[in-house]
Each structure stands twice: as structure tokens, then as C-alpha cells.
Symmetry: C2
Subunit: 446 residues, 2 copies
């Protein structure tokens, strides 16, 4: 029985053995060890390799059982055939968990070898992540037992059957300065799977949103029950590739997942409130906005832009999704006329035109947040608007209406301001379409 306490010992491990650590920078055993070190892990680190006395400046042990203390977590990167023995040694060292990065199990037909490993794990109540997975990254413990090295504390828990999808999400979250609590790569998910992890992160106080990438669901009833319980706590975004015949075929070769009927999965998502993402970009954008904003009171959007063309793109996407764009009332138009120059288009989109400054946005927002026929506000910065972040941040506390942003065509100023806007808690997207689609996901929140 994998309890919350055991998973705590995995994620908040105080000691980690890297079995199959290597001195060769081309090897996964080198990269994982160096990422644990460079990621700033503060606990004990034990590299294990029979051929080395020291790796990356840390004393190396010939085998796991030679480590003088018990360990919390074993990260295993040795060839598959050696894994059962490593697991037995992990049990001797009272390990609570094993992250088995090694491939070569069920996914290439070695079912019995995988069963042998899991038997040992079950006998000793060791939580297994994997096998055939890309490891784990848990930022509250600065434990980057995966690759590449990505850091950045945040509130998004990423559960990813595909290590690459997990790493991509984490990398974007880091660049966006929103960070993440964790990336857990499921791989063959023979031990800990999406069920245990949804339950775990549902209760995790640091986690505000769960991003779940699965290729298949082994126990449908249990999945639905767990998802419902989780959704009563926080939103869950799902990316389940293998939608198409060819995709399902590829999923079957990847982790021997049975994709099942995509239509049924989709219907279940809609029914219980799982927010399904169409692709990896939407997976990220939806998780991002759901972790940052509360659901608007209605579906009426006010668009404020310095770029007429961007406003049209936003309006098109809104119309596609049934998000309403209502013209501002006479009062609001009058108030806008008082503060804005002549060339501005006092409609919705509200076009501040290309010479807009942060001050003009400020003046427009002061009025726009009072519009009664707008439930959410999208601010599009379509030019190099200096101090956009400091300006928009003032409004986050001034209104109950969710404010989101898009920033494009802003050159170096955009690169500077964009992560700052995110860091202030206002989600900003690189295109108007992505911003509006993210709002669409927010409106689907339970």
C-alpha cells in the first residue's frame, strides 16, 4: 500500500542513491547525478558504481548495500537485468521509493522481469516510479532526479507519462517564471501511477493545478473516482495523445498502453470536469491559467489592445469558443473618451493604437474594470510597451475580474516584460489566440 507518507518520503527524500551513476557526461547516470547536485538538493547523495571511487566529487560506493546509512530513495539507471538485485539492496537499505529510469521491461516484451521487480517492491512496500521513465523533479525539495536540469518553484504539478512532455512543460514554466511543484514521469507506471499521484497532489498545499499526461488508463472506474475526488480540490488538465488510429498505434508501441476509445475518454472528461487539452501547447496554457486565475463570473470578455490586428485575432478566437464580446455602454465610452486620445477606437476590442504607452493602458484599465458587461479582461500589448508589467500588476488587486494578457511584436521590451507579468500573477501568452483559448479553458473550470 503506497501511502501519502511513503510518497512524501520519495518527494521529500533526505537521502538519494543514484545507482548507475557515471563519470561519462554522455551517460544518463552522469546527467541525473549532476542535475541532483546542480539542482541544489540539500540531502545526502550516494553515487553507486562498482568501477568508480568518486563521481563529480562525491564518494562512490561499489553497490547500494555498501552505503553506510539507510536511504529514502534509490534512482536506478542500470541495465534492466540488474534491476531486481538493486531493488533487493534498496529493500535492505529500507528505501521508501525507487525511481527506475532503466528501460528494457514490459515495453520491449520483458514482462516477467518487470513482474519480478514489482514483486520485490510490493514485498517491501517500496513506491516505484517507472520503470522506463524519465525520473522525477520536485522543486520544494530541490530534487531534480531527471534531465534536463530545470528548476523553479511554482504551483503546477505535472504528471507525465512522457518524460519529454513533462520536461517541456517544466521548461516553459521556468522560462515563464511561473515554476512548478513537480514533474513525475510515469513511464510504464507499474507502481505509482496517475491514481496515486492525483490523490497525492490533490492534497498537496503547494499545488494549485494538476497537469496530467497519460497514454492510457488501466482502471477506468478508479480513474474516474479519483479524478472526481481530485477535481473537488483543484482543477486537472489532461493531455491524452493517441486520439487517432495512427496515434493510438504509436502509443501501443511506446508504453503498451491501451488507448481505449478516445470518444469515451473525451465524454468522461466533459462529464466530470477534466479539462482536456488538444495538444502540448494547450496542455501548458490551460494548466498555467487554471493555476493562476479564478473562474470569471460569466463569459463576456473585454479586449484592450494597442494592435487592431491582434484584437481581431482575439475576437475571432472568442467567437469560435462562444466567448462573448459586448460593446461598452455609453457611460464607459464617455469615461474612456475623457482619458484617451482621439485616435483610439472606443469599442470592444478597445484599440489604444500603436503609440500607446503603459500610462494609456493604465487610464483605459481604470475605466474598463468598471464595465458591467465584461466578466474578464484581456490586455494585449502589441508594441514594445515599457513598464507594462508594473502597470498591469496594479490592477490585479483592484478588481474581481480575472485579467489576462498577451504580449507580441514587442521585441526586447517584450522579452523583459513577459516573465515579469507572469511573476506578478497575471498570465501572459505570446499570441492573442493562445490567450483566448486559455480563457476558454478557465471557463470550463468546475
Amino acid at each position: 500500500m503506497i501511502t501519502r507518507e511513503i510518497l512524501d518520503s520519495v518527494f521529500r527524500a533526505k537521502s538519494v542513491a543514484v545507482v548507475g551513476a557515471s563519470n561519462n557526461p554522455d551517460k544518463t547516470g552522469y546527467q541525473v547525478l549532476s542535475n541532483i547536485i546542480d539542482g541544489g538538493f540539500g540531502g545526502e547523495i550516494y553515487p553507486i558504481n562498482p568501477k568508480s571511487e568518486e563521481i563529480l566529487g562525491i564518494q562512490c560506493y561499489t553497490e547500494l548495500r555498501a552505503v553506510p546509512e539507510d536511504i529514502d530513495l534509490a534512482v536506478i539507471i542500470v541495465p534492466a537485468k540488474f534491476v531486481p538485485d538493486v531493488m533487493r539492496q534498496a529493500a535492505e537499505k529500507h528505501a521508501k521509493g525507487a525511481v527506475i529510469i532503466s528501460g528494457g521491461f514490459r515495453e520491449i516484451g520483458n514482462v516477467e522481469l518487470e513482474q519480478e521487480v514489482m514483486q520485490i517492491a510490493n514485498d517491501h512496500n517500496i513506491a516505484v516510479i517507472g520503470p522506463n521513465c524519465q525520473g522525477i523533479n520536485y522543486t520544494p525539495n530541490s530534487l531534480c532526479a531527471t534531465w534536463p536540469l530545470i528548476t523553479g518553484l511554482g504551483s503546477m504539478a505535472i504528471i507525465a507519462q512522457s518524460g519529454t512532455i513533462g520536461a517541456t512543460m517544466a521548461g516553459w514554466a521556468k522560462d515563464d517564471r511561473i515554476g512548478f511543484t513537480s514533474v513525475v514521469a510515469l513511464g510504464n507506471k507499474s507502481g505509482v501511477g496517475e491514481i496515486e499521484l492525483m490523490d497525492y497532489f490533490a492534497e498537496d498545499p503547494d499545488t494549485k493545478v494538476i497537469a496530467l499526461n497519460v497514454e492510457g488508463v488501466s482502471d477506468g472506474a478508479k480513474f474516474i473516482e479519483t479524478a472526481k475526488r481530485t477535481l473537488s480540490q483543484k482543477p486537472v488538465v489532461v493531455l491524452k495523445p493517441g486520439r487517432t488510429a495512427k496515434g493510438a498505434e504509436a502509443a501501443a508501441s511506446h508504453t503498451k498502453s491501451i488507448a481505449g476509445s478516445d470518444k469515451i475518454f473525451d465524454a468522461v472528461c466533459r462529464q466530470i470536469g477534466l479539462i482536456r487539452a488538444e495538444g502540448i501547447v494547450e496542455f501548458y496554457d490551460y494548466a498555467k491559467i487554471l493555476g493562476m486565475l479564478k473562474k470569471p463570473a460569466g463569459n463576456r470578455l473585454m479586449i484592450i489592445t494597442s494592435s487592431g490586428g491582434s484584437g481581431i485575432l482575439a475576437a475571432d478566437t472568442a467567437d469560435d469558443l462562444g466567448i462573448r464580446i459586448e460593446k461598452p455602454s455609453g457611460d464607459i465610452v464617455d469615461a474612456l473618451r475623457e482619458v484617451l486620445p482621439n485616435q483610439c477606437v472606443l469599442s470592444n476590442p478597445l484599440d489604444l493604437t500603436g503609440d500607446a504607452t503603459a500610462q494609456r493602458y493604465h487610464d483605459a484599465l481604470e475605466v474598463a474594470i468598471r464595465a458591467e458587461n465584461a466578466d474578464a479582461i484581456l490586455v494585449i500589448f502589441g508594441d514594445p510597451i515599457e513598464n507594462a508589467a508594473d502597470m498591469i500588476a496594479q490592477f490585479a488587486g483592484k478588481t474581481d475580474k480575472p485579467i489576462l494578457a498577451a504580449f507580441l511584436g514587442g521585441g526586447e521590451v517584450e522579452k523583459l516584460e513577459t516573465p515579469k507579468i507572469n511573476a506578478y500573477g497575471i498570465p501572459v501568452f505570446p499570441t492573442p489566440e493562445r490567450a483566448v483559448r486559455a480563457l476558454g479553458a478557465l471557463l470550463r473550470k468546475k
Copy 2:
């Protein structure tokens, strides 16, 4: 009559007057002047402002007619009511072109003022870009008469009704190290419009692909005729927002464009071979791939990946678009087995698994390019694959099959390798879905 020679004098201007240049960094008149200077323009620059003797270290003239020499191009950033007088002075100075950035004309109801300006332009055969536009950027002449400052010689000509959409495209092209020949912001397009510019860039030897953003088309028959002529020379990608009712309404307020029936526009695109983009990301991706790769002989795609999950996303997108994913023949599988380790999945997607190196990709590509049932090859780097760029570049000349790439989940290595891959002439995209959708556009090439 705006001839090719006149447009040459605009883009390849040897002297530029900036009328309304300013010493105040918040003003457009400052930004445009400083971008012309910092962009490396090699010709004469004449700032015009009655209140300054010098701006940004350059002698300033009180009015355009005070400039001692004739000028090729006037960039105009004064309030709308002064523009007719500036145009008369430009005529005195035998200007070939005027880029009118100033707004305040037809778009806010000042139709007569715009007519007055155009009358002067027509009387003196001055090519007008705008009014109410974001200027021009022409890299072969290092002439960045717009904002923000974006440089980078390439082969994509961007014709954009929206300055922000143009600047966004140019910024992405710069970051991607593929560059662009030009961005021309159309604005109200009272003088030079998409017709003249398509004709111009159709014949421009530096331009390999035209990216055209329009909100409306004033003369449908002429548009079709010009587009057909252009398409016989090179591919044209079109972004026409205002697809929906709300989008069309926003377009009408923006530039008073009449969007027309979107269905008819769409049908025309399909019929004559204009490749229509769904949004701004596709606009960029399609123009990028069409400027870099030739059309594959057929629609069968081989996917090589280190990430099973990414391979599934690619297969899903391919299936959506009718791109075929055929399993490799026995010969190819045998040859792959000889060079690849045991855990690789010898199918399509060909999964090299997460510990893949550039060498393993190299070995796989040597075999895969011989596969007779693949017309194009998508290489997905789903991990921090060092030297990915130098590896893949070796294959560009080795096969007639177009090779494209996706790079994701690769952390700092990805950031280093991605622009290098593009610079080698192999288009690389940040997600598998974007790569496959771009291939879909390439397959629609005439």
C-alpha cells in the same frame, strides 16, 4: 503609376527624412529615428523637427524643404492635419516614397484628409505606404523605419496590414535565425497595397516566400489575378483575420476593411493555391517551412524521435491532416536493428528512446533516408541532444527528401541547438504538432 523602380527607391532608399523625429524617447518619432540609426542604415538620414537643432547626434532641419539635397523616402510621424503640407514638401524634394505612420485619417472618419494626401501623392507619383501604418523594415538595405528594432537578413517577405503581426513575424524570424527580407505594414493601404507588393516581391530575387496579412481585399478580381501571377513564382501564405462575425466587426473598426464573405475568400485560396493560415503561429510556421523546403514527392512521413510521447503527438496530427505514417519495410527494420540498441522501437515513429545521442540519430537517419515508403522525414529531438544541429545538417545534402525537425524538452541544449538547426536550412519547430502542421502546409504548395 507605382512602378518597380519607384518601389526599389523606397526599399533601397539612399536617403531618408524622418519628419516628426523627436528627442523624447517615449515618442514614435524618436523610436523610428533611433531604429533607422541602430539598424545600421548606410544612407543619409535627415531628422525634421522645427524645435530641435540635433536629434540623436544628427543635424535636424526645421522642415523637409530645408534639407539641402533631394531625398528618396520621407517617413512621416506628424499629426494627421500636417501631413498634406509634408507631402507637398516631399514632392519638392523629389521623394519617391512616403511611409505615413501617422494615424487620424479614414480609420477615424477623416476621409477627405486622406484623399487630399493621396491626391498630392498621385500628382507627384509618390508611393505611399499607409497612412496609419507601422512603417517598413527592409533588411537588404538595413532600413528599419518601424518599431521595434528587428534585424536579420532572410528570405521571407512579410506584407502585414497589422504592424504588430508584421513585427511579431519578424521577431520570431530573427530569434529563429531565419531572418526576413522585409516587413511592410499596410495600415490603411491607400497607396501601395497587397497588389503592388505581391508583384514586387514575386520578382524580388532575395524573397523565397511571401507572408501576406490582410483584413480585407479592395479589388477581388485584381487580387486573384495578382495572386495567381505571384504563385507561379513562389508560395504565398495568407492570414486574414475577421473570419467570424465578431472578428469581422473588429476588422471594420480597425482599418475600415470590408472583410467580405470568409467562405468565398477561403474557397478562392484553395482554388488558386494560396495557403491560408488559421492563426498567427501557423502564419509564421507555414511561411517558414515554405521558404526553406521543397515540396515532398508524396505525403508519407517517417518520424524519428527520442520521445515516444512526442511521436504519438506527431502521429495524431499527421492522421488529422491525412499525412500517412507507414511502417518501415523488413529491409529497413533489419538495417536499423544492426545499428541501434535493443530498446529502440523499430517502427514508425522510430523511437530511439530517451538516452539517444546525436550519433544514434545519425545512425538511424543513414538508414531511414533510404526508406522507399517515406517522402519526408521528421526528426524529433525530445531530450537535450548535444550537437543535434551539426548532426542533422549532414543529411540536408544527402537526400532529396525534405527533412524537418522538432526540438522540445531539451533545456539549455535546445536553446543552443534550435537556431543552429534553422540556420543550417532545416526548419525546426518547438512542438511535434507545429512541425507536422507545417508539413501539411508544405504539401499544399502548388
